[in-house]
């Protein structure tokens, strides 16, 4: 690439340097370009064709696949489901995680055990988690009988079968799996804030809530933004758990963008259309990423990125 700058200033070391760079960097770069970057570019290319993945790529249709996507009610539902999960995560899951992080942010007996338990679901596979909860949520199974048992029978729903409620159910299970992760991030952030600052505010007569709101929360800003960003990126590519638990049903009520893409591209071999959905998904990700870049100092990124699990 840039091996064309033969400045002999450093004498003999220059060729050695470039040999080292090439030998060390090329394998990783090749793997990354071949399996990550090229497919993304190809998705953009395929999205302009009507294609079943087998014949040669000849049936150029321009932006028709995109038009189809944006006029498809199925896809609109999928997009709004992704957005719903984002909104619910920001409104409920992250505040919940933050509350627990605050609760655990001081020494007391049992603290380590609670942390261990809350974070445990993060290491379980989404698919396997989905299988277990599907069983628990069957009509009359553990969840229903427990609610009935404690006199909350009125809350019982057709958890996965009610088109109006299925996304709420999925959101609860997503939160079950991921709140511990956000809690851990936020705990780490809280530990980076010197106690003295908040104590000084309290001494100066600030109320407990005021001190939290005006001192702790702003100082926690960078970590919170990381948490928010990861939560949104996770929400727009939601797939595993939904596929296992509902397959996007009932009648498309729990479709997400990734589910719609998978169904179109893989299940019904409309690879052109599926690729268009992938590009739209990409566009959502890009908007989030750019917004994040703008809003956030560069030092956040290394943290943001540390939790991404592909």
């Amino acid at each position: 690439m840039s091996a064309t700058s033969p400045r002999p200033r450093v004498g003999l070391r220059l060729p050695t340097k470039w040999v080292t760079i090439i030998l060390f960097l090329l394998p990783a770069l090749a793997l990354y370009v071949l399996f990550v970057l090229v497919p993304v570019v190809q998705a953009a290319h395929y999205s302009l064709y009507k294609w079943n993945g087998l014949q040669p790529l000849t049936d150029f249709v321009g932006l028709k696949n995109y038009v189809t996507a944006f006029s498809s009610d199925t896809f609109k539902t999928a997009v709004s489901n992704n957005l719903l999960i984002i909104v619910l995560s920001l409104a409920l899951q992250i505040p919940f995680s933050l509350s627990l992080a605050v609760l655990l942010n001081r020494r007391f007996p049992g603290r380590a055990i609670f942390r261990l338990i809350f974070f445990l679901p993060y290491v379980l596979s989404e698919a396997i988690t989905g299988v277990v909860f599907t069983l628990l949520l069957q009509p009359g199974a553990l969840v229903d009988s427990s609610l009935n048992g404690v006199g909350l029978g009125g809350l019982v729903q057709d958890w996965l079968g009610d088109a109006g409620f299925v996304m709420i159910t999925l959101f609860i299970i997503i939160s079950w799996k991921y709140f511990g992760f956000h809690m851990i991030l936020l705990m780490a952030g809280l530990q980076g804030i010197p106690r003295e600052i908040e104590e000084a505010a309290l001494v100066d007569g600030a109320g407990r809530w005021q001190a939290f709101r005006h001192i702790t929360l702003p100082l926690l800003g960078p970590t919170l933004r990381v948490s928010v960003f990861l939560s949104m990126i996770g929400a727009i590519q939601l797939f595993d758990m939904v596929w296992v638990m509902t397959g996007g049903g009932p009648v498309g009520a729990s479709n997400t963008m990734a589910i719609a893409m998978f169904k179109a591209g893989y299940k019904t071999s409309q690879l052109g259309y599926g690729s268009a959905l992938a590009v739209i998904l990409f566009a959502f990700g890009l908007v989030l990423a750019l917004a994040y870049q703008r809003l956030v100092l560069r030092r956040d990124i290394e943290g943001a990125v540390t939790a991404f699990n592909g």
């Binding site: 379980l124 780490a188 596929w243 890009l286 939790a307």
Partner: protein
């Protein structure tokens, strides 16, 4: 600290009234805190416990009385069946597939990623930051985007239905994270060490291998652990790229098992439990690395 009494008065008025440790941060009383924490912990543990105990029940017990906790009588046959009996071959094959993919993917991503991170951390060259941004870019968009073309690509290069066809893309997707975590660690190792190694006749690779890697062991452990969790739990990629039951990994296997034995809940639970045992054991051993890896960067903010 030495504050007037009026300030103290304010403080106690606005706090919960418990002021045992003077300036201690006002907080929920211990009892309320424990009540909340125990409630949340039980919401986490009950489904897992239900699965474990449910595997020891008969379907009759599960359906007839879903709430009673302790199996009576205890039934071992679900677990023995899924591990050693009728479904044993399936379970061990899927576990082996998961293991092979994880080992190949983690080796590739940690091996290649640390070489690349070494270049990004310690060699100054034109275009370095641009190249580094190219890798970080990979983290900022959803991986699902690449999946359909990957399906075509893997078919084209003859890796369809091959475990390698899943392991290599998984390694590629894990590379950005690996490089981003390793670079600052590699950077923090003093230049003097590098100079000394060079004077002693160490090549660049010699320095990397004999000095840098041993010193960066905690960071290497962190990225390995994160890559293991990621590949072990991967679902969408194997779902698309593997085409036969012979190659399925555990998450695919569990999903399939649950549809195949849809009326045999106890057996599904037993299979699910044995399938998550490796992840839970791994968590018990590596919790510290997982947590430190995930929080590595965000704490600095």
């Amino acid at each position: 600290m030495g504050m007037t009494t009026s300030a103290r008065g304010n403080l106690s008025a606005s706090s919960t009234g418990r002021q045992t440790v003077g300036l201690a941060r006002p907080s929920l009383s211990g009892g309320v805190r424990y009540a909340i924490l125990i409630f949340v912990a039980s919401v986490i543990l009950v489904p897992i416990g239900y699965a474990i105990l449910g595997g020891f029940k008969t379907n009759g017990q599960l359906v007839g009385d879903p709430v009673s906790v302790i199996p009576s009588p205890w039934v071992l046959s679900n677990y023995t069946d899924v591990m050693f009996g009728a479904n044993g071959a399936v379970f061990w094959r899927e576990a082996a597939n998961s293991l092979i993919i994880a080992v190949v993917a983690v080796t590739a991503t940690v091996g290649l990623g640390s070489l690349a991170a070494f270049v990004f951390a310690r060699i100054v060259f034109r275009g370095r930051e641009a190249m580094y941004m190219l890798f970080t870019f990979g983290l900022l968009f959803p991986s699902a985007v690449a999946i359909l073309p990957l399906y075509i690509l893997v078919r084209q290069i003859g890796l369809e239905g091959n475990l390698l066809g899943v392991a290599l893309p998984e390694a590629a997707f894990a590379l950005p994270l690996t490089i981003i975590i390793l670079r600052p660690f590699f950077r923090s190792i003093p230049l003097e060490l590098e100079d000394a190694a060079k004077i002693d006749g160490c090549s660049a690779f010699g320095f990397f291998w004999r000095v840098l890697l041993p010193l960066a062991r905690p960071a290497i452990a962190t990225v390995s652990v994160l890559a293991i969790v990621g590949t072990w739990n991967a679902f969408m990629l194997p779902l698309i790229l593997l085409n036969g039951a012979d190659q399925w990994t555990l998450p695919l296997g569990v999903m399939n098992f649950s549809t195949q034995y849809v009326s045999d809940q106890a057996r599904i639970l037993a299979f699910t439990v044995v399938a998550i045992v490796p992840a839970v054991l791994f968590y018990a051993v590596a919790e510290r690395q997982i947590v430190s890896g995930l929080t590595a960067g965000s704490v600095k903010g």
